[in-house]
């Protein structure tokens, strides 16, 4: 606030900053935090998660029982526990040196990219929303509806390969776009807050899909299990690296989308409108932009991308729709977009990071005996720290970068 006064010697009273929402401030904190802060935030999250692991490790507890006679045992056990966890994460997400074949060695990383695919799509969509001033919590519902439409096209229609896949992929986008359109139009026309609307729509979508999965049209003949028929091979993403790996062409499509989003937000006039509406909707409207249209379009585009995220499970990995298709992808994507600073390239890297953590889940379980819940803890801590650079700087005694001083007003 003080800087505000400096920069506005023309105004007697400091501009009433608190009269405005602080979206811009928060997003700037997130988007302009330096790479060092990001690295430190990830480091701090890993350290805290490591401490948790030590806390619950039975060997450490045992050794701590005679800590004062042989403290070294405690530290050794602690080191053992932590290194086994992070070793497992490395082995599960990056490279597996236990494997005798090259394919086996690099398989974890391809698995990471596979897991990252839906996160990239949905994270890109959320990032567009964030930069346009919309906090879309609805990726979960948009993804689910998109997956439903795509899966239905995949198993109910029977068409030749490229056409069938194209239509199914398009279907996921359209389904998600539709589910994004609802909060968009409600916000634009009635002022209903998108956070509430999207949260509610997530649950509506969940129940709707659960209901659809009780209908004959969505189940294989004679089945009552809530799982749709397998989509036709002609509607599946082809595998990218052959049958040894799960990585599919959806990943390439996700990267193309990242480029497309970059062009949209940085180079196109539509993206200019999105950003202007997000940074100051009133000024955008005064300048002649149709903010109603922008609001709806942002949510439609964000929804379409979240819907495309649904194509990764139903047309790529699982190849069928279940009531678990969305998992926690929609919420994970929020952390991805936040960590990726709402920028396409950042989102891709963040998705690969968090995709890696998730890919490591099974290895964590078998090697370290830990359920993958610790992954959520790491994800949450990373984002918390990123959102509050001063906290990270205090923890690591980093200096305040000059550019943040400048824009802090």
């Amino acid at each position: 606030m003080s800087e505000q006064v400096v920069t506005q010697p023309g105004g007697e009273s400091p501009a009433p900053d608190e009269d405005r929402r602080d979206w811009a401030g928060t997003w700037r904190q997130i988007t302009e935090s330096s790479g060092l802060v990001v690295a430190m935030a990830i480091f701090a999250a890993l350290v805290i998660a490591g401490l948790l692991v030590i806390l619950v490790d039975p060997d450490v507890q045992e050794a701590a029982g005679y800590f004062f006679s042989r403290p070294g045992d405690t530290f050794a056990a602690a080191w053992e526990a932590v290194s086994s966890v992070y070793g497992a994460i490395f082995q599960g997400a990056v490279l597996n040196f236990d494997s005798s074949t090259f394919a086996g060695t690099i398989k974890p990383f391809t698995q990471t990219l596979t897991m990252a695919t839906p996160l990239i799509f949905a994270g890109l969509g959320l990032g567009i929303g964030f930069r346009a001033g919309m906090f879309n919590i609805g990726a979960q519902g948009q993804l689910l509806i998109g997956a439903t439409v795509g899966a239905y096209i995949g198993f109910a229609w029977h068409l030749p390969f490229p056409l069938h896949l194209a239509l199914a992929v398009l279907g996921t986008a359209v389904g998600g776009a539709l589910w994004g359109f609802i909060p968009g139009i409600l916000k634009a026309k009635t002022g209903a807050h998108e956070v509430i609307v999207t949260i509610m729509l997530n649950y509506v979508a969940l129940n709707l899909v659960a209901y659809l999965l009780t209908l004959e049209a969505f189940l294989p003949p004679g089945q009552t299990n809530p799982k749709s028929p397998i989509v036709d091979e002609s509607a599946q993403y082809p595998l990218l690296l052959g049958s040894q790996f799960n990585l599919h062409w959806g990943f390439i499509l996700a990267l193309l989308c990242a480029w497309g989003v970059w062009w949209l937000m940085e180079r196109s006039t539509l993206g200019f409108e999105f950003r202007a509406a997000g940074a100051n909707a009133r000024a955008a409207r005064t300048a002649g932009m149709n903010v109603t249209k922008t609001t709806i379009l942002v949510m439609v585009v964000a929804g379409a991308l979240a819907g495309l995220a649904g194509s990764a499970p139903v047309l790529g990995t699982e190849k069928a729709l279940t009531d678990q298709t969305a998992g926690s992808l929609g919420f994970d994507a929020i952390t991805v977009a936040l960590l990726g600073r709402s920028r396409p390239l950042g989102t891709v890297f963040a998705a690969i990071l968090f995709g890696g953590l998730q890919a490591a889940g099974p290895t964590l379980q078998t090697v370290a005996g830990l359920r993958p819940d610790i992954v959520y803890v790491i994800q949450a801590l990373v984002v918390l720290f990123i959102a509050a650079p001063p906290l990270v700087r205090t923890m690591f005694r980093l200096p305040v970068p000059a550019h943040e001083k400048e824009v802090a007003a």
């Binding site: 400096v6 009273s13 006039t269 940074a279």
Partner: protein, 506 residues
């Protein structure tokens, strides 16, 4: 109680808002703190009121040094403040607003004693003839009534020193006179009153002592007998001509014709604009005077297409633009400088480059087929920053980091970069320093001389006089009359209060 400030210094980063300011206010006197916008008056009073910590100096009450950690301490010590932007919770009643922070409680459960608060409001309201209903909700009250609630709030805490920060900015001349009466009563009752203002007339009317502040420093004291010109030159730091030089208007054909324009608020169903009719010719400036909140803002926004209209026509150069979207109106050759620069005029987090194309980004040459042309945008920004003398380190700087005057230059540069038939400018120089005011006025007059029709909305009579070829006065959503620019101040004042129409006491 006697108030004394000794060497108060307040810095914001490298900027010194108050530089070793001394001030003595005696009980039973009105002390005017005179200075331009941005001179540091409000900062000083916020230090006194405990809202800011001073970086140096001390505050003495009856010669006792005091330290205020917050406004609570200041109020306990007997200091009351009526802020320029009222500090009232819109959804509270008057009684709740007055008791907030100083609540009487009653009963075993220690619940709020609203009856006591009502009685207190009633008593103070009667004593000064305020006619305030303790159960009225703040947001339903007029601005003048809200100000009286603020005064009651201060007095209910037995304030012996009362600070009034630009109290007349939102009042009609008549309401201003009433306020000055009240200030006189308070003074006679022994209260020390600090009146912060930049309006010389009021200072001369009521002040016992005058301290003039410029750029955070006391530049002098004066007697109320000093002439307006003397006070003005002290305040501004050089001899000021009160008007910008301009040639006589050479009006052409009617450019903007407004007929029976009516706007009704969709929610409250209050008529904001009531059958407004006027025209502006090419090469002519029409200035709309009036106390804020009498429909001027709505008039500008309705013509620009920002506010939906309920009846009437707007015709621009023969083309009916009634009900057109703002986009179409801008395309038809209208430039619009909004009243609230930071909210409506600029995107603070955008660079200067982007703010300069905010309403032309999707035309050639700034973009082609939906793609922005980066090189053109940069060239445009460099040219405009030079032409309009925008003081900035870089065209990549965030516009929010510029001073108010430079932000306004960015808005003006953008709006004047198109060929205009009509320029609408609301409060074009609000909060600007003298240099920027002159620059903006010069540019507006240039635009007139280039043949555009110009509509100015201003609540500063000085500005109206400086620019107008004709003056329209608005009151309660109507144009009271349109008069020549040599109409005297008192006449305008009466018209701003709706003279000859229903004379409203509220």
């Amino acid at each position: 109680m006697k108030l004394e400030l000794q060497g108060i210094t307040k810095k914001f980063g490298d900027f010194t808002a108050n530089d070793a300011i001394d001030l003595v206010v005696q009980p039973g006197t009105v002390h005017a703190l005179l200075g331009e916008n941005g001179a540091g008056k409000s900062t000083l009073m916020n230090v006194l009121f405990g809202l800011y910590d001073a970086d140096g100096g001390q505050i003495l009450l009856d010669d006792e040094p005091r330290v205020f950690a917050g406004p609570g301490d200041a109020m306990d010590a007997g200091i009351g403040m009526v802020h320029q932007h009222f500090m009232l919770v819109p959804v509270f009643t008057v009684a709740e607003s007055v008791m907030l922070g100083n609540e009487d409680v009653t009963g075993p459960a220690k619940l709020l004693d609203l009856n006591a608060a009502r009685a207190k409001v009633k008593e103070l309201s009667d004593r000064f003839g305020f006619a305030i209903d303790p159960d009225a909700v703040i947001e339903d009250l007029s601005v003048g009534a809200q100000q009286r609630v603020e005064i009651i709030k201060a007095l209910s805490r037995d304030a012996q020193i009362l600070i009034l920060d630009e109290p007349t900015a939102v009042l009609t001349p008549q309401e201003t006179d009433e306020l000055l009466d009240i200030v006189g009563q308070l003074r006679d009752a022994g209260t020390a009153v600090v009146l912060i203002t930049h309006k010389l007339r009021e200072v001369k009317a009521i002040a016992d002592d005058i301290t003039v502040i410029r750029r955070g420093k006391v530049v002098g004291t004066a007697e109320p007998t000093a002439s307006q010109e003397e006070l003005a030159s002290l305040m501004v730091g050089r001899d000021v001509s009160m008007t910008v030089a301009k040639d006589a208007a050479d009006p052409g054909d009617p450019m903007l014709q407004v007929h029976n324009l009516t706007v009704v608020d969709g929610v409250t169903e209050i008529t904001l604009l009531d059958g407004v009719t006027f025209e502006i010719r090419a090469g002519e400036i029409l200035a709309v005077a009036g106390v804020q909140g009498n429909g001027q803002t709505e008039l500008a926004e309705a013509i620009a297409g920002l506010t939906p209209t309920d009846a009437g026509h707007v015709t621009l150069d023969g083309e009916d633009i009634t009900g057109h979207s703002i986009r179409k109106v801008l395309d038809a050759g209208v430039g619009f400088v909004p009243e609230d620069r930071t909210e409506d005029g600029i995107v603070a987090n955008f660079t200067i480059i982007n703010n300069l194309i905010l309403d032309i980004y999707d035309r050639a040459p700034y973009s082609t087929r939906g793609t922005l042309n980066g090189k053109v945008l940069v060239d445009n920004a460099e040219k405009q920053v030079e032409n309009f003398d925008v003081r900035t380190t870089s065209i990549n700087a965030l516009t929010g980091s510029l001073s108010g005057g430079n932000q306004q230059k960015v808005v003006l540069a953008r709006e004047l970069s198109r060929d205009l038939k009509l320029l609408i400018a609301s409060q074009p120089t609000r909060g600007l320093d003298v240099g920027s005011i002159e620059f903006v006025h010069k540019r507006i007059i240039e635009e007139r001389d280039n043949g555009a029709a110009v509509l100015i909305v201003s609540s500063e009579l000085d500005e109206v006089y400086a620019l107008a070829d004709r003056i329209a006065v608005m009151y309660h959503g109507r144009i009271v009359d349109i008069v020549p620019p040599d109409t005297d101040r008192d006449t305008l004042g009466l018209m701003m209060a709706g003279a000859h129409k229903e004379e409203e006491a509220a």
